[in-house]
Symmetry: D3
């Protein structure tokens, strides 16, 4: 039997207190501390696709500090014990993996429930369906420019679609909603709406530092993904020699997609498709959060509180089949 298949069988968060864990884990974050006796130690957060768990690594050497860093994968043996009400790994053995271990970073990250190729081809197809050439060319150019990041970045650091390919997953889900609404409300300018959906959050690939352990970049903090993308549209249009109201409309779609100034949109939506973009964004984000929380909740119980949904807990009716 092949290693690569085996080591993912049982996730770290499924181990109970008292059990012995042995397997591969990804290091998410590392913090250095010093004991009251003056000795340095590391507090490591490990993760695999099932979730995260803390551990302490005592009596460390300089080499340990240089070796065990974020995004490296280790093989680890340890007992699960309880500390202040949370499970923690009591490390017995640890070593850095190498090629012979045949482990890949992506196997330790939560990812979108859809394959990248599928996301890519849906997006390509959608751009192909556009009929306004100005809109189509601008969107195609920007997607091409950021294609490397677009399909691996999360849609956010937390809250919703906060996993590998989350950004593209969010875009594609929204495009599907848009396609359905177009049938019900034929007045919708579908080119504008598609374009707005595709572009609205791409600025996140510059707002966030990287897809695996994303934090806010300086540009992200001082400008934000909205302004970054509005700028990008200007530059792209100028590059392609495109003039005309479409450029302004696309900028407005992105600029207003948070809906209100107090939510970070300097202008509220002032065209129909911008209002709709804002609503579809809300629906897809909310469904993503509610579905993932309810999936882990038994019928007859409430989910944990979901902060961005006004800190509500949602109930799962007993008459639903699990």
């Amino acid at each position: 039997m092949q290693k690569g298949d085996e080591y993912l069988k049982r996730g770290i968060i499924e181990f109970d207190v008292g059990e012995l864990f042995e397997g591969y884990l990804l290091i998410k974050t590392v913090d250095r501390g010093v004991t009251s006796g003056g000795k340095p130690f590391l507090t490591i957060i490990f993760r695999d696709q099932s979730g995260e768990m803390d551990a302490k690594l005592w009596d460390i050497t300089k080499e340990d500090e240089q070796m065990y860093i974020p995004e490296s994968i280790v093989h680890l043996q340890g007992e699960i014990r309880q500390f202040r009400g949370k499970s923690q790994i009591n490390i017995r053995q640890i070593r850095l993996t190498n090629e012979t271990d045949q482990v890949r970073l992506e196997d330790f990250l939560e990812k979108a429930p859809v394959e990248i190729d599928e996301l890519k081809s849906y997006l390509t197809q959608t751009i192909f369906e556009m009929s306004n050439p100005n809109i189509q060319r601008i969107v195609r150019q920007i997607v091409k420019k950021y294609q490397d990041q677009l399909f691996v970045f999360p849609a956010a650091t937390k809250n919703h679609h906060e996993y590998t390919s989350g950004l593209a997953h969010h875009i594609v889900s929204m495009l599907k909603v848009a396609k359905q609404l177009k049938q019900l409300y034929p007045e919708i300018n579908i080119d504008l709406l598609y374009a707005g959906i595709i572009l609205h959050d791409i600025g996140k690939v510059k707002e966030l530092s990287n897809p695996i352990s994303p934090s806010y970049t300086l540009e992200g903090k001082l400008l934000g993904h909205i302004t970054i993308m509005v700028d990008e549209i200007t530059a792209t249009a100028s590059e392609l020699g495109i003039e005309g109201e479409e450029v302004l409309m696309l900028q407005h779609m992105v600029l207003s997609h948070h809906g209100k100034s107090e939510w970070g949109s300097p202008k509220p939506p002032l065209i129909r498709e911008a209002e709709l973009l804002h609503m579809i964004d809300l629906i897809d984000a909310k469904m993503n959060m509610m579905n993932r929380a309810l999936k882990q909740t038994k019928p007859g119980e409430f989910t944990p509180r979901i902060f961005p949904l006004e800190n509500r807990s949602f109930y799962r009716p007993t008459f639903e089949e699990n």
Copy 2:
């Protein structure tokens, strides 16, 4: 040529200052005034399907006052003139219609762009598709009880779907959105969502006085359509001998559909389908308002301000075909 076909050809609001209007109009409201010379007169608002226009009827008799009342239809001849920046009819001749005129009240009212029969059959079909018998029976019973009003009432006195059959039109549009979203988010409990959509606003048939010139009833003012319907669900379930969590879920769907306590929901949505009901309600109401305003706006121009959409004006791009 038949009269009934002819008299609707050109709407009252399409007449320009200086033109002579001759045709049938519905009286919407009547106010009695007295001139500085002490003589009584009537200020009448007339309407047809195109919209409304004011007129003054001078030198009136007691009989005039008793004859020209709201919801009566008149045949009228008069000049369109301008008064304080608005068009006004300068009445030359006026008489009450009778049977021989072959005019019907409903020909003067704005109505849903879909036929009542179509709305009815869609609703019936949707109820038929429900699989949870408790939910299905409660919904069917309530729809049956209010079927006379349900298909003629507006969804509101103003703002959105404020026309004949507006309530049913709103319900059916929302059901269609729900049906599409179910395909994209299969986790949705479609019975709950359908039921919530159908029931959420039916309380309006008790909140509002009548479908033609609706005002708020005492019950509407002191309880509101939400509480009225929550009550109705209790009564219906009890009548049908239905117990079980479905009753509570349906009540909660209705109770929370305004989304927040400051918008009149004593509880926020605490089940997924309730949150979704709130979102679909918003989308359909907003699309209805934006589409109707934009239809009357030329490309390159802004709509008038739409009060319930935070008083925004919406722009219609120039590159849209008219």
Copy 3:
């Protein structure tokens, strides 16, 4: 000397660090934990009428876990010690009580400063004084239906009147205020006001799980005590064959008693007595909170912060006699 008299002499919170406690205590909550060595233990909150104190029970068996559960009474011996700034009982001996101990649950609970019988007879008398038969019959019927719970439930899980019979105590205090205000403002419709006061919070007996360790029921979370009682009034009126505006008025009184939509009232008070009900509710709740906090505060000092009173501390003037 009889045990039953003795064991309540000195409350648990009056014991100082270092002292030895021996006596009876009620278990309020129990949480299971596991030590870093992997051994299970219980964190128990005990209470008597004086208040609450924590304890740890180490080295527990399966039997211990099944035996020491909320609402059971134990006999306990232990030292008071300090842990993270709070007193805690270091348990030496513990055993479950049995019949021979002659201890009663109610002796360990805080209760209203008025006897249940007194509350009952005041309420009965008040209903008797009503002159509108419709109002009187509805109120009498609902009080009768819930009489078992009405006189033992607290008015809330925390904040004000959060003790045995707190609900009835709150109602009776408010009735007394109403009676006085009627003398000063003779325009008040005293039947409506009495009825509103009696009914406004009775929904809490369904909103809360039980009178001793109350938590929110599913119905409480999804509908809330206001909607529950509005429903109850409809049902009761229908049962008694009562029609007429009184039913609507009573529903509105209950519906609006939180005063504003953002405080959970779907409608604001729209009749005088509803506004007054809201004001009297506020006064009695505030007086209850302030009086209880100030009673434990010395002249010249401030009370602890009282969260529902906008987190204020209240000062007790030095010139007040203690």
Copy 4:
């Protein structure tokens, strides 16, 4: 028959369009205008105890302008006619009154439904009942200082108790409520509460210009009645040689009686009696507004909107006797 008795028989607002009015009226305000023909005229608002009515006085002379000024009483003959939906007096004859008319200013002003003497003696009695000498002396001194204004000023320029002696009427009503609440909540420090009630609004005699046609003084606009009275307490205590916490408590009572900083209290109530003062103030003001509006409303109808009560209309139940 004596004139003075007769002329008040029928209030000006009870005259219908077309009727002839002849009698005495008080001039409330006068505005000078010029016709399109360049001729000056006066727009006068007249009032008697029943209310107010507009009139135009055409073709005026310089003498007219000097003669017909606010607070003068005229004898007037004119027709009631309608102008822009409101009744207006068409003046036929007008003359200034003199001594022989035997009319008094106070007969044209709305006033408290209680006699000044009664208000005075209630206030005196209340001060007499105080047991804390420091509080008693300060209150007595301030009441004495402002006794001339205190019993004629309104409590406000509009909204509640906005009539002659309204301030004293408000104080006495509140004292009565306080007296009743003391019986129900014996913990109340009644001296503090009485003192707070008596002093809280006396600053209005400096905030407002005069009792008959009150406007805000410069001191009123820049400091407000709260600060004016806090200052007065300091000065009075210093004058009387009183030191001690009572002074600070009284200042705080006045300072915090609007309840919240956004309502003009730089500090929220931080002693029990201050909180209670705020609540009693609210109740008495609200009862005054609701009662006066409902008195003029028939059973089964709503009052006009009352702005300071969040612009609500209040319903008068049909089962109330008129």
Copy 5:
């Protein structure tokens, strides 16, 4: 004596009812109306540097309509009369001016109290004083690009600096404040602050349609001057081949200068100079509004309400010399 000197001697708003005006006026707006008799007429708002006045032009021809349009200057003779409480010109004679009249548009517009040349040289000097070459070059380039508009545009359509050269006047006033604050707080990075002040509102030359009768452009409505300028900085830096943090800092300064998201800044100020820019902007705008209102107010009186200053009226103390 030369005409050009004479015709500005006495402003139109200084003429009293009954007087005869003869002179030059600028047409600000024109509206066409139709009398009840069906005849067209024009409602014209005229202006000169003293302010504005309405007039009606009756019995107009097609030629009149084409001739009397906004921004044209006329010679006019008419009486001042009063209409609904406002002065209005009753036109006797009117003719369009031509070259021989020697009147210039700018003589009829309110303008900054400082000469354009002075503003220009102050701005040039300030840019010259900058020491960071990246910042200096970007600012110089943008100022150069917009120099034609920058020195004639107002800073806003209303509220503050809403006059010819108002934008440059506002910038220069703010620069002077900055220069003084630098002396008191030497930590300030003066290059950043100068640059932020100069650039922050230049986007208004694209947000507003023109300097004389400014309205919002489509770009202004859908993007706003903040986003327009952030874009411009990107483009300019790219054009000049400038990279480095200065570009991001300048963008952030402009982006955050409204201070809060609810005031239209997608990001709050996150560098010291951005916070200071916001504060200086506030001070200069407020001083401009208060000073202009107080200049027209006598000591001992209040200004009219100033809407953007929270609708306050400001008092001018009596002890100030006029």
Copy 6:
């Protein structure tokens, strides 16, 4: 070498974990605890001019408890170790200082970066420059009355200017800003503005208990520094026999300097100089907070969050010289 020079060389917060500290420290606060073994210990916060550090003193005697109290200075030897992520002193030796140690309290307190004498003379000079004698006399009298406290008190217990002489430092900085603004906006009444700046916060010397470890006094909690100073102005004017509008203006300046009622000003600024006082207060407080935070931040990094600046972190550009 003299001790007094030496012991301040290296601040306590500059010592790293593992190092040995020996020197003088001031006790800021002391808390008594009891170990789980029942033994008392002290948690002491020490401070010097560099900042604060915690320590535990174990095995204490009654004498220790009486000796080591706030505001006493000790000589201490101990190791710096880490506890829960913070540095802590592990005390080896400790003794109270005496005269021979030649240490002074003020050497351990943070203080304004300007000498008291300089602050005093600037203030004196500014008062001397005033031209309105009424304003000048009142200001001079109040400054004289509080001169002992005015030059040692902080401007606040935390946030800004929270150090010895912080109040005077704040006043003088603001006066300097005022002096510059007067040059740019000559309309400013500089006497009023100077007076407002000097008086606005002096009430803090009564609001706060003492300059070294300030807490809120009862007067401070129940009245606040604004009301305290408004009162003081009344008393001072009366003492000096000054009447006239200046008194009212000064009271209003102080009363409104927090700008809005929700920030504690019962009236908003209603004179120009009051508005300006509010703005200058904001600028100086913000600059003080930002400058102090940025001074400790390296270029390219963000400051810690600053709570009173809406919890923002500020960035220090990389192109700034350190």
